[in-house]
């Protein structure tokens, strides 16, 4: 084995050394955060810089033996074919496994100081693993493809042909059965093709390493194609029903709980959702709307309120994390489902309630104490007048919604719509808005200069 590894080193150090250097360079300078406990979501295009030498190293595995009858000499030596194959596999895996571990060590010992505190053995190993497995797969793919046609160009043609076949023809055929798949189609197909394709190429290519290299190219091609086709047919034949039955459960095991924690850290709104696993640069992560929303007390995890989504297809604001807002009083509100301006409110005491605002629209501007929300009463005549820009413009009737009780408190605040956007809370009980004077519009200027002449204050909460 030692001699075989030495042979591999002499034949392929040209590819292995740039591969190792590229892995080290990319890991340390372009993606070092992967060792700091992050799961490798942020994949940079620089990763291709290390994937290409890994592929070339794999393609070069049997390139020397597959040309000019050198295989005859190799197999006349007292070394079984398994040993030759094992030597080639181990050589590539030594780089694919060893160098990321070395990169993790380098990062821990000599990485930028602020980041080193976040590197633990567990995070370093997890980060190294995200580098190890794509490189190993790419190398094995290349190695299996190198057994068919002579030279590296032959291996590349084989690889490109297999990828075209898998992605184009097979995926096209799968398109026909897509409606039968009760899971996200393209993601499932991608993972199915990746798994079955790797299996098929290994099954078709590796047996050629056993004296297949001494056969003429047409004979090799026949054997390779037959095995590839057989595994593809069997793999997809078994894989499609399996994927339709268990694919989503198997692939979407990772649960990402998006959460919004209240300003005091006492409560949290959680949106558990399952995501597809990542595949390096081909990031297939897709966020799906959460099927449920829960309101928790963080101290003990007790659910104070929750609701489950009923209609999967319809966009539903309460199930979208970005629709919810906390006030500083640890109350949360969100636009409710439907066409109107109804509002959904969470209070620790009353749980989840929906307040109908049939003739009001609310402003996302809670009072400083977080308890009140301004609402504007609109009427059809006002709306028409505003819409047609008839002077004098409409007057808004402002009221206040008490989020704790769900009660609308009428006020005496009347503001013309031009000043409506300028209304602010002055205190927990008072609203204010400015009054300006406008100078005549100067020639060449689009807007009139305005001067603040006063601020009106109205008490709105008794």
């Amino acid at each position: 084995m030692r001699r075989i590894l030495w042979k591999e080193w002499r034949e392929r150090w040209w590819w292995a050394v740039p591969w190792a250097l590229a892995v080290l360079g990319v890991s340390l300078f372009a993606h070092g955060q992967v060792f700091c406990g992050e799961s490798g979501v942020s994949i940079t295009p620089w990763h291709a810089l290390s994937w290409v030498p890994a592929l070339l190293c794999g393609l070069a595995a049997y390139a020397p033996e597959s040309r000019q009858a050198r295989a005859l000499f190799l197999f006349s030596r007292p070394a079984p074919w398994q040993l030759v194959l094992l030597g080639k596999v181990l050589f590539g895996l030594a780089v694919a496994v060893g160098v990321p571990l070395l990169a993790a060590l380098c990062m821990k010992l000599g990485g930028p100081a602020p980041y080193r505190a976040f590197i633990t053995p567990a995070t370093a190993l997890a980060g190294a693993w995200t580098i190890i497995w794509p490189h190993s797969l790419i190398y094995l793919f290349g190695l299996a493809c190198s057994t068919l046609l002579p030279g590296m160009a032959g291996g590349m043609l084989t690889l490109a042909g297999v990828v075209s076949l898998l992605a184009g023809v097979v995926a096209g055929l799968l398109d026909i059965v897509a409606p039968l798949l009760p899971l996200h189609y393209s993601n499932a197909v991608f993972y199915l093709l990746l798994t079955v394709g790797l299996l098929a190429v290994l099954t078709a290519g590796v047996p050629l390493a056993r004296f297949g290299l001494t056969l003429p190219v047409p004979a090799r091609l026949t054997r390779f194609t037959l095995r590839l086709g057989l595994v593809l047919v069997v793999g997809l034949g078994v894989g499609i029903p399996a994927a339709s039955l268990w694919g989503e459960e198997l692939l979407c095991r990772r649960v990402v709980t998006d959460a919004l924690i209240s300003p005091h850290g006492t409560y949290a709104i959680t949106f558990p959702g399952r995501v597809w696993p990542h595949f390096g640069y081909l990031n297939l992560t897709e966020y799906r709307e959460s099927p449920e929303v829960s309101f928790l007390r963080r101290a003990d995890g007790k659910a104070l309120a929750s609701m489950a989504k009923k209609d999967e297809d319809q966009y539903n604001p309460p199930f979208d994390m970005m629709s919810w807002h906390w006030t500083c009083d640890d109350l949360a509100y969100c636009r409710a489902t439907g066409m109107g301006e109804d509002i959904m409110v969470f209070t620790p005491e009353r749980g989840l309630t929906t307040i109908a605002l049939t003739t009001y629209s609310y402003r996302e501007m809670p009072s400083p104490n977080g308890r009140y929300l301004p609402v504007i009463e609109y009427s059809i005549p006002d709306f028409k007048r505003i819409h047609k820009k008839i002077d004098p413009v409409g007057v808004q009737n402002w009221s206040v919604l008490d989020l704790r009780t769900g009660r609308i408190i009428p006020t005496t605040l009347r503001v013309d719509v031009n000043s409506g956007d300028q209304v602010r809370w002055r205190s927990d009980t008072e609203l204010e808005w400015p009054e300006y004077t406008y100078s005549p519009k100067a020639p060449g200027k689009r807007y009139r200069e305005r001067t603040l002449i006063g601020i009106h204050v109205v008490r709105v909460v008794p």
Binding site: F29, A30, H31, Q33, C36, E38, V41, S42, T44, A48, V52, L55, L56, G111, P112, A113, P114, Y115, A117, F118, G151, M152, A153, M156, L157, L159, A160, G161, V163, A167, A171, G172, D175, S186, V189, F190, V255, V256, T257, D258, A259, L260, S262, G265, A268, T270, L282, L284, T285, Y287, S294, L296, R298, G301, M322, M365, P368, Q422, W425, P434
Partner: protein
């Protein structure tokens, strides 16, 4: 054999040898069609076609070196069939890639011309370097050119560079075959390398100029500071907008319906409010090891330097900064920096204004990156002893004493598994 017979046989040989490569070049761009994932498959398809072209060019040139010297083929047909006749293969493959790119990814810039030039360059570079040096540097040059000869975000900016290298490679091809026929190999290698270096240099200068021209028209800025900070009572706010060149910052504030603005000759970021009359800023001086802590009094437009913050080397280079908020007592402030010093993603830095220190609180926060454009920055919940970040796909707790963040799991996360 007559000249016509030689041409006939050479062309037939080229057709047979190129057919498989041409098939790959045409099939790969179309392969993503049934999967309907062109965005993800486009770059791998370009990479696979480029590597195929490079290896194919190397094999052709090596085959010529080994075998064809013995055949009775005149020099001109040999040169033409080595360098010119196969060019339709990269041209057709590049056109297919480019047309697929434009057809399936609407909204992107046209890339067919750039891709044709890219593949032709890879073919010619690999062929010339195989003839002049050997196969391995030729493969490296061809593959590495993939990373420098094409920019997916601005495809047209690489056209001058690739055109220069194509012209240089063709000149080298003529020169080398002429000198090699006279067995002046050393001189030939030196001249070829000089010409290629000159072509690269000229192309590089032209690419820089072209990028500058393009960026002036329509390119999102990659460095700058956008910081907005709302006062604890939600009635006032300050904003900072730094120029792309990080040479000046426009600072504005709105307090009680009154607007204040000031211009600073340095990048700046708001850190905290001081009542309703002033705000604290982190200012990066033009030259200096640390960041300055400055106080801006709105009414008088007065800037005071309160001291310096020891800014680590990791955050001195240009980047895009954002403000995540400050604690209600104004002591702590959280800043977001993208890209991370170690790659993509966003790092969260914490500032302790009392201790005058700025430390990395958490590297690569959540999913706040280009894959999920819709997600907002994390939401900060300022508790008594720690600040909690949420709303970014994960929950992070940053302790005030250490300013060291750690990811924490919510009870719901465990129950949902």
């Amino acid at each position: 054999m007559t000249a016509a017979s030689i041409w006939h046989r050479l062309l037939w040989k080229e057709c047979r040898e190129s057919a498989a490569v041409l098939l790959v070049g045409v099939a790969l761009p179309l392969a993503a069609l049934p999967l309907n994932r062109h965005e993800e498959f486009f770059m791998p398809a370009i990479a696979l076609v480029s590597i195929t072209i490079a290896l194919w060019a190397v094999e052709r040139a090596r085959g010529l070196a080994v075998k064809r010297q013995l055949l009775p083929i005149p020099a001109l047909p040999q040169w033409l069939t080595l360098y010119i006749v196969p060019l339709p293969v990269p041209v057709i493959a590049g056109a297919f890639l480019g047309v697929a790119y434009e057809a399936f990814l609407p909204g992107h810039q046209p890339a067919a011309g750039a891709l044709i030039l890219l593949l032709c360059t890879i073919f010619l570079l690999s062929t010339v370097l195989t003839r002049v040096l050997s196969a391995i540097p030729a493969v490296f040059a061809g593959v590495l050119w993939l990373f420098f000869g094409f920019d997916a975000s601005m495809p047209e900016t690489t056209q001058y560079l690739t055109a220069c290298v194509i012209v240089g490679a063709l000149v080298c091809a003529v020169l080398w075959e002429t000198l090699a026929a006279r067995q002046r190999y050393v001189l030939g290698r030196v001249l070829v390398l000089i010409i290629l270096a000159a072509a690269l240099g000229t192309g590089g200068v032209l690419r820089t100029w072209q990028r500058t021209e393009t960026s002036e028209q329509d390119t999102p800025w990659t460095a700058g500071i956008v910081g907005g900070l709302i006062s604890p009572d939600h009635r006032s706010w300050v904003n900072c907008q730094t120029s792309d060149a990080l040479t000046e910052t426009t600072v504005s504030a709105t307090v009680d319906y009154r607007h204040y603005t000031a211009d600073l000759p340095s990048p700046a970021l708001p850190l905290a409010w001081q009542g309703k009359v002033a705000a604290l800023f982190l200012v990066w001086p033009a030259r200096g090891a640390g960041g300055e802590l400055r106080r801006w009094t709105f009414a008088t437009n007065r800037w005071e330097t309160l001291g310096t913050l020891a800014v680590p080397a990791e955050i001195r280079r240009p980047a895009m900064w954002g403000q995540l908020g400050s604690s209600p007592d104004g002591r702590y402030s959280l800043l977001l920096r993208t890209p991370s010093r170690l790659g993509k993603g966003v790092d969260c830095w914490a500032v302790d204004l009392h201790a005058r220190r700025i430390v990395l609180a958490m590297p690569d926060v959540g999913y706040y990156d280009e894959h999920v454009m819709g997600l907002p920055p994390p939401v900060a919940s300022w508790c008594a002893d720690r600040v909690l970040l949420s709303g970014c796909g994960e929950c992070i707790s940053i302790d005030y004493a250490t300013l060291h963040g750690q990811r924490v799991a919510l009870p719901a996360e465990r129950s949902a598994r």
